[in-house]
Symmetry: C2
Subunit: 208 residues, 2 copies
DNA sequence: TGTACATCAGTGAACGCGCGTTCACTGATGTAC
DNA sequence: TGTACATCAGTGAACGCGCGTTCACTGATGTAC
């Protein structure tokens, strides 16, 4: 097995090089305006990947399988990126400011992932939506863990803390599009996000 | 002019019957899974509207014009619906509970409008996104007006009040998809929305 | 009042094109003996 | 060690189909005189 012919995207899962190329191409094309994963054509995707259109059938039996694989790829990249955001934020003097800044770095380094994420999240009743909702829940879970471990918020009700963390996670992902749309206004956006997060926790504390 | 051949959708603007049929068909089709306004085909749309595919060219020069008209239709229906929500909420004993309940009624009466709204809101750099962001801003504006008129929230900072109202509006629209997805869980969702709104205002008050 | 003409929504046939899918093939790598 | 075979990613031609678009036409309504 030639090691350069494979790509190791995350968590040690190694996909055939062509399969990975097709998934990457699908994500690149789905991030374009007015597109979604399911509206990307098979031939277009193969063209973008630099492969013959029939190579698709070597890796996927039906187009639907590509959707699932792409959703998993998005989920894995988001989870890995957010883990790094949390790791760096932990070393920052202000946990909230750090989390927001490193999150925005992550968004700007991988805009297309966030664009696709936001789009597919709104596909009702789709299995992709379920995967992405699971990702948001996972991120909220891990945020709660970090908050508890470092005693960042004086909130005893674990359910309320989780709900607030989930709301904040949703908010950050929704507003990531504003950063991609108008990167020049990053500073104002960062201030808004920090203020929003502070308000959320203050409100949760006050509501008890 | 035959009055039954025309439809009066909103604000007294009367569109030719065929044009309105095409817009309605486009919205119906765009609300399906994995679809968006721009991915609806011209022939499919005409078929759905019960018209010849060429009739499209009688009303729109290019497909892009239909997108704009559909976005305007969505905007008008949302604005009108929210006005009604606010009017009914004002008569309710608890303004927050009333607003949430009547909002959820509105969502369930017009699910496809909310599905399309959520999807098109995430189309970066599209003129449709600008229209829909304007709608959200307008709704937040009018909420602020109502809050001030009835002295519902003790918040002096008008900018902060607007930001919180906008965040809440965004939250309501984002979570409208959960109601469409799982209508049986409406009661829990309503409780979550009310709690979220209360937390937001409490947090804003506490942050001053 | 009637007649002629312009306007306009809607129709149906025809076009070229890119799509998804199938088929038969290639060439490299791994495996059995 | 060499030889034969299986596996598998990738290729290229061909198919039928629905798409967007153009064209010439119809039939109803409104308008000028």
């Amino acid at each position: 097995m030639n090691p350069t012919s494979k790509k190791q995207p995350h968590e040690g899962i190694v996909l055939p090089a062509g399969k990975q190329k097709l998934i990457d191409a699908a994500l690149r094309l789905a991030a374009r305006d007015g597109m979604s994963l399911s509206s990307v054509g098979l031939r277009e995707m193969a063209r973008e990947a630099g492969l013959n259109h029939n190579t698709f059938y070597r890796h996927f039996q039906r187009p639907e399988e590509l959707l699932q694989a792409a959703a998993d790829e998005v989920a894995a990249q988001i989870m890995a990126g957010m883990k790094e955001v949390r790791r760096r934020a932990a070393r920052h003097a202000d946990a909230t400011v750090g989390a927001v800044e490193y999150f925005l770095d992550f968004v700007q380094a991988n805009p297309q992932i966030f664009v696709v994420f936001a789009r597919e999240l709104n596909c009702i009743a789709s299995p992709i939506r379920a995967v992405l909702l699971g990702v948001l829940n996972g991120i909220a879970d891990e945020s709660v863990e970090q908050i508890n471990a470092r005693n960042l918020v004086p909130l005893k009700d674990p359910e309320l803390l989780f709900q607030v963390s989930l709301d904040i996670t949703n908010y950050l992902f929704a507003r990531s599009l504003d950063l991609i749309d108008r990167p020049k206004e990053r500073k104002q956006l960062a201030a808004q996000l920090v203020a929003h997060i502070r308000r959320q926790f203050l409100g949760a504390i006050a509501s008890r």
